[in-house]
């Protein structure tokens, strides 16, 4: 079911409302944890207070384990989550600059906001410094660009880079975190001149630590992906739909909608290869070649559509395949143009009036097809539909330009 907004389960207008509510929680927890004081934050670097490490590591692990469990249960489609792209050297240099900034300033951006709002003057000045920094980055963007945009490795996962399986990586991450919690407690006590307790950790932490470790083991035991996802269509019911031909939409309806753009409630998806699409396509259609139909970017286009989706190809084989694949992976509301483009053109250009039937309906039908034939012939469908030649849209154009943006 999740992520909700990219999959169109939640009205995008509520997006900003959710942002605010999530922010309330974020700010509340950061302040409660003591992240509103720079002295506490800086403690992680000098050994007198490891609160940053404890909160940060626990939060990252909670969310990571939660995501894996959600994904296992089928509550979240991992492929739809935004994975920040790795621009290797930009990330390293940026991180190093931020590391020095952390020592000098005693805050990071999130914590400075939390501290400033409760009256910490140092945090307010930190934010002013940050604004100047961002402005300077913008001014020298030309100089920075090669580094900023260079060595783009895309949205890669850390376990792939390390050549590990995801589950083992998470397991080791939890083990490292638990070890860090135990060791840093000893260091902290020593730096502060306190006597450490005898055991590895205070007995009151036995249950939470054991739970964390247990969940890490559970991740190891569970298979990487669930057998069936809740959003996937049932194969048997799909078979029945396909056998009954329920997926087909008549060429007539598509023609009508093309000529009456105001009533257009279809997202026309051309599943032919890009070269064919560029040579000719139906006005307003989107090109998603069949071999890319399950890509993340394709899924975004399809699942984000409020309109009925109509797949088309020359005939209907490729479109049928696209329909099956996407229906199976949870896209609803999709159809196939019956007999494809060939059928559509045949019905428009080679329309023959049924001379045996002559009533009002059939006359209307005759007139419609003759008219459509004329308009199509003049290339008028394009002009008629949008007032201007429809821009050729390919998948590449539609991909959101997220790669170069900062997420924070």
């Amino acid at each position: 079911m999740g992520p909700l907004i990219p999959q169109g389960f939640v009205n995008p207008d509520l997006n900003l409302f959710f942002a605010f509510v999530i922010g309330l929680g974020f700010g509340y927890v950061l302040e409660q944890a003591g992240f509103s004081t720079s002295r506490k934050l800086a403690g992680v670097f000098y050994g007198y207070d490891f609160v940053v490490l404890r909160v940060f590591f626990t939060a990252a692990i909670t969310a990571a384990l939660g995501l894996l469990l959600f994904s296992y249960i089928g509550w979240i489609d991992y492929s739809m989550i935004y994975i920040n792209p790795t621009f290797l050297w930009s990330a390293i240099v940026g991180g190093a600059i931020m590391g020095v900034g952390f020592i000098l300033g005693g805050f990071c951006p999130g914590t400075s906001l939390v501290a400033a709002v409760i009256g910490k003057v140092d945090a307010m000045l930190f934010i002013i410094g940050m604004m100047i920094g961002i402005f300077v980055f913008g001014q020298f963007y030309d100089t920075f660009e090669p580094l900023y945009m260079g060595s783009d490795l895309g949205g890669i996962f850390v376990y792939d880079s390390l050549g590990m399986s995801r589950d083992w990586f998470v397991f080791f991450l939890v083990v490292i975190a638990l070890a860090a919690f135990i060791i840093t407690r000893k260091i902290e006590d020593k730096v502060n001149g306190l006597k450490s307790e005898a055991g590895l950790f205070h007995p009151s932490y036995t249950a939470p630590f054991a739970l964390m470790f247990g969940l890490a083991i559970l991740i190891l035991i569970l298979p990487e992906s669930p057998k069936a996802k809740w959003y996937e269509a049932n194969a048997q019911s799909l078979l029945e739909e396909a056998a009954a031909g329920k997926q087909y939409i008549e060429a007539e309806e598509v023609t009508y909608k093309l000529l009456h753009q105001r009533e257009m409630d279809l997202l026309l998806v051309d599943v032919r290869p890009e070269a064919d699409f560029l040579r000719f396509n139906l006005p307003g259609s989107v090109n998603v070649p069949l071999d890319r139909i399950l890509d993340k970017s394709s899924k975004k286009i399809l699942s984000g559509s409020d309109n009925r989706i109509v797949f088309y190809s020359f005939g209907s084989t490729a479109a049928d395949q696209a329909w099956l694949l996407t229906r199976r992976s949870g896209i609803k509301n999709s159809y196939v143009l019956k007999d494809g483009l060939n059928g559509l053109f045949a019905s428009v250009f080679q329309y023959e009036s049924d001379s045996l039937v002559n009533n009002e309906m059939s006359q209307f039908r005759d007139r419609f097809f003759v008219k459509a034939g004329e308009i199509f012939e003049q290339g008028g469908a394009i002009i008629k539909t949008s007032g201007k030649p429809s821009p050729v849209r390919t998948l590449v154009d539609i991909q959101p330009p997220v790669a170069g943006k900062g997420g924070c």
């Binding site: 605010f20 927890v29 003591g34 920040n84 792209p85």
Partner: protein, 174 residues
């Protein structure tokens, strides 16, 4: 009104709750948390209102006007940050921690502290652009979804922090 501030929350509990907030953010929006993005929006909006023409032709700023109906302020991270400010104020106020003050190490004056705060912010401003996010957006959210970028940024921040901590110890400790 002189009240003793309430103690801070247990860090593991706070981390767990923060993890749930992060999980909720990813579950609802498919993206993580962030903080520096909103500050960037403020900067770019300001530049845009002073000189729209300049901002729209600038390779770095222009793309931000293309989103959010041409308003950099109307974006997810800005509203998130408004929430952060609200949540933090509520927490600080209820726990008796709100009030004008400066936190610093025992050896330095307020002016020194404030000067270094500006310098630190300045570096975070630049670094968060290269890192495509700060400690929360790039490192924390990136670690949660197991992206390589998240772990690299996290290690770079804290690794460098530990390396340079010694040279600036007078800022924070005896």
């Amino acid at each position: 009104m002189e009240q003793k501030p309430k103690p801070y929350m247990n860090p593991y509990l706070a981390g767990f709750l923060l993890g749930l907030v992060l999980l909720a953010a990813i579950f609802i929006t498919g993206r993580g948390l962030g903080a520096s993005g909103a500050v960037k929006s403020v900067v770019i909006e300001t530049i845009g209102s002073i000189s729209p023409k300049y901002a729209n032709n600038h390779p770095f700023y222009a793309s931000f006007f293309a989103e959010g109906d041409g308003r950099p302020m109307k974006n997810w991270l800005v509203y998130l940050t408004l929430g952060v400010l609200g949540g933090a104020f509520f927490s600080g106020f209820m726990s008796g921690r709100a009030g004008i003050s400066i936190d610093k190490g025992p050896q330095i004056s307020n002016y020194v502290r404030l000067g270094f705060a500006v310098a630190g912010g300045f570096l975070f401003g630049i670094g968060s652009q290269f890192g495509r996010g700060c400690t929360s957006g790039a490192a924390l959210s990136g670690m949660a979804n197991l992206s390589a970028a998240g772990f690299i940024t996290m290690m770079a921040i804290f690794g460098t922090g530990y390396i340079v901590a010694y040279f600036f110890r007078k800022l924070w400790i005896q």
